[in-house]
Amino acid sequence: MITTQVAGASALRRAVPARRRRRGDTWTAALCLAPALAVIGAFVIYPIVATGRLSLTSWNGATPELPFVGLANYAEMAADPEFRNSLVVTILYGLGVTVLGVVSGLGLAVLLNAPIRGLALYRGIFFLPVVTSSIAVATVWKYLFEPDGPFSAGLNWLGDPSLALVSLTLLTAWKQLGLNVVLYLTALQAIPAHLYEAAALDGATRWRRLRHITIPLLAPMTFFVILEGLIATFQGFDLVYALTQGGPLGGTEVLGFLVYRTAFASGEFGYAATIAYAGFALVLGLSWMNWRLQGGGARWS
């Protein structure tokens, strides 16, 4: 990111000697930053490091001392069927939510992009689930998914491990739909109209214009939507907690929920920290892959 300095203004600034002003700036900046950095440092940055240290212990969350166990937790994790299950569940969930999110978000945004009556209404409607709490929407969907619920179609959605994951994926995609629509709509509106006009003059069909102009130019936003979806699914806790509690038979136990259960239900803070670190490595790896696949956002040129 480039910070721009307005050159013309520097003539005015010469009224104060430059060095004194800069030193004064550093002090003011320190004062301005101190409160926010104290909070973020103590509750976000320090914990990232501290979780790494915890992952090398068998701490139970209560005792004052941290029994050091080296890499034992990592060895345990590598052989842990619950962890492997959670990994598979999280990846399937992440894939499902991002694919549904990109397709439905892009599709509806394209429809809303050309002048249409009721744009604000549609946007408002699609956004309703985004602003409603996860606990509230999951409470409602839980009833809708019940075998005798209005939308069950006779299936026991939450009683079967695979169907429960499908339910969770659908619920999450439904909840995030409005977010993806608005994000894509913003990106669509930033595409210069002359590109389409030129293509139309060359006789490009509507589909070819979508394929060769719209979709490539949206790549940075697609990167962002996928990243958002991946983070949301890896964070995924509230919906899982309220809809399935990770069940049945671990069918919806995403990594975030496994970390919570391992620490706060089983009291294995050290091991939970290990799983958290592994999960974070996976988020970073997937984000990096996504970045590479989208051409590193370089296609803006």
């Binding site: 930053l33 909070v39 914990p47 009721g118 549609y122 409607i125 409470t139």
Partner: protein, 270 residues
């Protein structure tokens, strides 16, 4: 493109269907909250049972949940408005060593999932003696990176000549922030306020970790406890759900513009 008048736009078919899928669960929620118990399986309430609401509200200490949530949410919103503004001002306008490095580190933390930080953060709260108090709900979330990024981006669009002129007039940096920059940042501040409000009102995981009983529980937590007790009574449960969901929806309806503007900002930043 030639538009023939009077023919309905086919796009409305797809958009209408998507809207229906979006709205149906909400419609079911409101309808069920007004049904009587014997008719709970019907699609539509046969007669409106407004009494469900007082009954649900008295079945759990919802007033207390509301108070706790309001205090927590206002604390978070106020914290973000003040702390994020100060930090954003430093990043947008002041020159100091490591400015870009510190900013990059902060932005990178947005990628960090909650489950990676929650164990030491929880431990810290317990050691500070804040467990099961308002402090535990508020203090760890007084500042956030999203707000800093939104405000910094907005401040950078303001003409620098404004502060330079004030500087020459002898105004200090903090006076400039307060009297020149903040008044011009109102749209960005509104965006931050909406996001922070929605975050606070709908937050679940952190309050679940750091509270132990009804005296400190927030509405979302209260709703989840209520769910476990009132499963067989969907009409009361849905009344409770409406009560928990409505404030966020109302704020959204009134401040939709600020919210969409914030998302547009996220996009163009890429």
């Amino acid at each position: 493109m030639v538009v023939t008048p009077r023919r309905p736009d086919p796009r409305h078919l797809v958009l209408g269907a998507a809207s229906l899928v979006t709205v149906a669960p909400f419609a079911w929620m409101v309808a069920t909250s007004l049904k009587s118990l014997p008719n709970v399986q019907h699609m539509w309430p046969l007669e409106f049972e407004w009494g469900n609401y007082p009954e649900a509200l008295s079945a759990a200490p919802f007033a207390r949940y509301y108070l706790n949530t309001a205090v927590m949410t206002l604390g978070i919103v106020a914290g973000h408005l003040i702390l994020d503004t100060l930090a954003a001002y430093a990043f947008a306008r002041l020159r100091f060593p490591l400015r870009n490095t510190i900013f990059a580190v902060l932005v990178a933390t947005m990628l960090v999932p909650t489950f990676l930080t929650m164990l030491p953060a929880f431990d810290l709260v317990v050691r500070m003696g804040w467990y099961d108090s308002w402090a535990a709900l508020i203090v760890p979330r007084l500042a956030d990176v999203f707000g800093i990024v939104v405000l910094r981006t907005y401040m950078q669009t303001l003409p620098r000549e404004l502060d330079e002129a004030a500087l020459v007039d002898g105004a200090g940096r903090m006076r400039i922030l307060w009297h020149v920059v903040v008044p011009l940042c109102r749209p960005a501040l509104a965006t931050v306020a909406v996001f922070s409000f929605l975050f606070g009102w709908n937050d679940f995981l952190w309050p679940l970790l750091v509270t132990a009983d009804d005296a400190t529980r927030t509405v979302q937590l209260g709703l989840s406890v209520f769910t476990s007790k009132y499963g067989p009574y969907p009409h009361l449960l849905m009344a409770g759900t409406v009560v928990a969901a409505v404030p966020a929806i109302v704020i959204f309806l009134f401040l939709q513009k600020a919210l969409v503007r914030g998302l547009a900002g996220t996009g163009s930043k890429e």
